[in-house]
């Protein structure tokens, strides 16, 4: 599980690097109790106070520490958005934000615990942000370590949804299935890869994977893309459409941007149910991709 990988790696980082600090707002506090016992000055649980969580992170960074900030994505990114904008970016300091809950991991909890817009919101900030969307728990340790070691702002988006196996790499687009020159290119971000591979198994579509939508691998995209690009993201549909559009501005191309829809479904159920309802399961993706590639379209 990604969350456990995050807890284990962060616990190691706190022991290895005196510069790291962890700021919590009750979420996962019990999992970090051993680390808090060893590093009481650097594991800080402010209670259910997300604005303060980010403000404290900004203050820690102003003194030279490297804060890791963690909660459910809606509370980390959406509730405290202005603190991210002002207490980190505007102060010229940064932190590593680690969100759990993904788009609809907590489907049974309803709208209050869903945050498909998290990456889109981060994408409104300074363009120095790195966004990591691991597709498997085993991808988490290296991504978290790289984010902490860098001095820039980073958002790690963890989910209970995952692919069958981890894929390494530095976030550059990696071809998982090659349909040859000129074939439509499907870019899968993080945990949607397995469904995307199944969806186009018998279609002539090249599939590339990334767990780092920001900065998006523009050079890799330009090298792989033909006239048709399909983007499959596990968060708000179209979040990376502008990046792809900018990257291919000098080429005639068509883009299909798939992801989580904007409409509030007002349904509980499971994460798998929501995957299906948003058309992000293999069958739904296949329907969308087939329609996009159907002869005569465009």
């Amino acid at each position: 599980m990604m969350r456990e990988a995050f807890v284990d790696t962060t616990t190691e980082l706190l022991a290895e690097q005196p510069r790291t600090a962890l700021v919590l707002a009750d979420i996962s506090a019990a999992s970090f109790a051993p680390a808090a016992g060893r590093h009481p000055d650097r594991v800080l649980n402010v209670g259910i106070r997300e604005q303060l969580m980010l403000g404290v992170a900004g203050g820690l960074a102003l003194t030279g520490l490297r804060p890791i900030v963690h909660s459910y994505a809606p509370f980390l990114v959406e509730r405290a958005y202005e603190q991210i904008k002002l207490d980190l970016d505007h102060q010229g300091v940064s932190a590593v934000l680690v969100g759990i809950g993904g788009s609809y991991d907590r489907a049974e909890s309803g709208r209050t615990h869903l945050s498909p817009a998290d990456v889109a919101l981060i994408d409104t900030l300074d363009d120095r942000w790195t966004v990591h969307v691991p597709g498997h728990a085993d991808e988490v340790p290296a991504l978290l370590r790289a984010a902490v070691d860098s001095d820039g702002p980073a958002y790690l988006r963890l989910s209970t949804l995952a692919n069958d196996r981890a894929r390494g790499g530095d976030g550059a687009l990696t071809v998982v299935r090659d349909a040859g020159p000129g074939a439509p290119l499907l870019v899968a971000v993080g945990p949607v890869l397995d469904a995307a591979l199944a969806a186009v198994a018998d279609l002539g579509v090249t599939v590339a994977y990334t767990h780092r939508p920001r900065p998006f691998d523009v050079a890799g995209l330009r090298a792989l893309a033909g006239a048709e690009v399909i983007l499959v993201e596990p968060y708000l549909a179209g979040t990376s459409a502008r990046v792809v559009g900018d990257a291919l501005a000098d080429r005639p191309h068509r883009l299909l941007a798939l992801g989580v829809g904007r409409r509030e479904l007002r349904r509980y159920g499971s994460a798998d149910d929501h995957t299906r309802w948003h058309g992000l399961d293999a069958a739904g993706l296949r329907r969308s991709v087939s329609a996009f590639l159907a002869p005569g379209r465009g």
């Binding site: 600090a21 403000g55 900004g58 002002l86």
Partner: protein
């Protein structure tokens, strides 16, 4: 005029009653010629809001008598920190920074210009000695709590962190997250200064200091024009918990 002393926490400061109560609203306090001249350069013929004159005395006492920071130590890890949370109180702030040599005085003449480093709200990236960029109310105290914790985590127990807020700024709920948490953990190197010019739309029934003391802070409420009283209050920390100074001034908006 008389100031109601709030017997808050363990600390009760004696406020001066010598200040005449006859100042009409918005009249500048008596200022030394250097500060007055610098303020005039920033003002450049415009009207200053009441916040400028309500804050200048606190700023002067902090920079002239309390803060261990000079233009040579703006990056020193063990410097005291001053965080201006009410970022609109900027004219007096810039004047004091210029008077103390943090910024060249001629920067004041181009306040808000396209190439100026000095805007209507301060930007820490642009102005030496400015610890935070502020303007949106309710951000300074959380940053101050984090700064105090960061210093503690690095074994820097000498420097103090001062955060200046306004009574109306306390309307923002983020302040109350910081007040409750700092009190709960007994953060001794944090001092909040609330300039109270009675500008909060709905007031603070029961007093401002009570918001802090109920959470375990020590508090002093003093005449915000009385430099000796301010100095005593601003250095009145007991070393075991966060401290608030409520500086009462008469210039309401």
């Amino acid at each position: 005029m008389d100031f109601k002393l709030q017997a808050s926490g363990m600390t009760i400061m004696t406020a001066s009653t010598a200040t005449p109560g006859a100042d009409p609203p918005c009249r500048p306090p008596s200022l030394p010629p250097q500060i007055a001249a610098l303020l005039e350069r920033i003002r450049a013929g415009r009207e200053f809001g009441p916040n400028v004159y309500s804050t200048i005395d606190v700023l002067r006492v902090l920079y002239e008598r309390v803060l261990r920071i000079t233009p040579a130590t703006v990056d020193a890890p063990d410097r005291d920190r001053f965080l201006l949370s009410k970022g609109h109180a900027v004219a007096g702030y810039y004047a004091v920074l210029a008077a103390r040599g943090f910024v060249p005085a001629d920067w004041l003449d181009d306040h808000g210009g396209p190439d100026s480093r000095l805007g209507d709200h301060p930007d820490r990236v642009l102005v030496p000695g400015v610890e935070i960029g502020s303007g949106s109310l309710g951000h300074g105290l959380g940053l101050g709590v984090g700064t105090a914790l960061g210093l503690r985590a690095q074994g820097l127990t000498t420097p103090r962190v001062y955060v200046l807020l306004g009574d109306a700024e306390l309307d923002e709920g983020s302040n109350h997250e910081a007040i409750a948490y700092a009190g709960a953990i007994g953060l001794p190197n944090l001092t909040a200064v609330v300039v109270d010019n009675a500008s909060a739309s709905h007031g603070w029934a029961g007093g401002i200091a009570a918001r802090f003391t109920v959470n375990g802070w020590s508090a002093a409420t003093v005449d915000g024009r009385d430099h000796d009283a301010l100095h005593a209050a601003l250095t009145g920390q007991d070393g075991t918990r966060p401290h608030v100074v409520v500086a009462v001034v008469e210039n309401g908006e």
